[in-house]
Amino acid sequence: MIEIRNLCKSFQEDKELIKNLNITFKEGELVVIRGKSGSGKSTLLSLIAGLLKPTSGEVIVDGKQISKLPDHFSTLYRRDNIGIIFQKYNLINELSVKENILLPLLPLNLKKRELNVRAEMVMSAFHIQHKSEELVKNLSGGEQQRTAIARANIANPKIILADEPTANLDEKLSLAFIEILKEMKTQSKSIIVATHDPLFFELDFVDRYIDFDS
């Protein structure tokens, strides 16, 4: 469903971070991209999410070429199809957990009741319900991450991108995250995880590993 063809991306003229990349991700697949930091994993995720434009090449999702969409439309595509779990969680500290989770839905102008139903749903799915009115800055790292995951799932996207999801977590919490990952896979979402955390390297439910060092 995600097709990457001859993808190149360079931030400076001479140095190409991603060069002639060709990958295909199938629907419902869980793929882990392994590689050191600075190897271009995050950039690839940005390109798939339409946050960045490639220097050349194409990213095709569901037959739609998203790499050439104008900003307005790539945002719409991202809103409807993609949930991102960031390394730094990227929550807004001054807002409560629930408000943070609902942020992606605000431009849709939905009814308050529907918003509440959807927030309840993801909050209970990711066990953050008990903190729903708490401000994000008062949460622990694990809770913050669960909030971030809940936010990525609120619009019920087909594709979940996770960028170094366990970088700021201890081992216990990382294992908890892997459980969550397993659960999400059962909902037949396509999941792409970019990480250098060895905890991910020996998982039986991962469909494919891609090494990004070369």
Binding site: K53, P54, T55, S56, S67, K68, L69, P70, D71, H72, F73
Partner: protein, 317 residues
Amino acid sequence: MTPEVLTLFILNALFVIFATVAFILSLRITLYYDKQSTTPVQYRLEKQSYLSATIIKYIFSIKIPLFIFFIFTLEKISLILPGAMCSAGVVNATDYGLYLLVLKLLNLYLFAYWILLNSQDMKSETQPYIKIKFQLFMALYILLVTEIIVESLMFFSIDIKDVVDCCGVVFSVSDNSYMAEIIGAPIFVQVSLFYTLFLVMILAYIKKLKRIFSILNVLFVFVSLATLIGFFGTYIYEMPTHHCPFCFLAHEYNYIGYLLYIFLFVGTFYGASLALLQMTQKEEYFYYRVSMLFNCAYLLSVSAYVLLYYFKNSLWL
């Protein structure tokens, strides 16, 4: 120099400054915009197109209430001008007045059309109108600047010592000006033209003939204005000799003029823009319906004045 005029100048100055920014950006977009390209220039142009669109939307949304304020200002100035009883006197005090009004109306229609074009454009990923809309804006910019220059010229050249004609003179039948020619045409012909046009419009609406419906709407604007001055106006004033398209904007007639003009504007605008845009069946029906609704409201309200007069006095003017 009145505070009202000064306010108009200030807002006009802001419009010119920001419209110029939008104009330069539009020029660059029309020249260099290329959907296939992936250069940084292209991405910058994309972003700038949002800025231009924001500026244009802003100008339009201010221009609508500003038009009403402009009429207010004309009425205020008519207090200072000896001989002017209402805005018509001010409009005719200088050579620019009439052109200015026409320009202002034209610009309102075009700006509204631009907004529609933009929203249609943003609906499709291919952005089919992106170049057309900015080319249109460049033309619109020239019109806008002309309008503002003419407006400034008008306010500067109003001489408060000159005696001007009031609307009774400007719109009188005895004169041999173009106004007189419009009003002078047999009223029966005009009014029957007005109603026939509306009937044909209903036919076009039922048959969903897009082009014809739009053209009819454009014609409807002119015929409506002519009959409003020549025929319906006299019933609103209940005076057979009072032909003036401004006086019923005043308080004495419950500001009814604003309502009439809004009906006419919305109705004909939606009607006329039908043929100019590609849209889905559902949107088309919506436009048809809005257009018919407002045109109908206009027709009914002007006709109501005539009928009311007849019921009250049981005679025609």
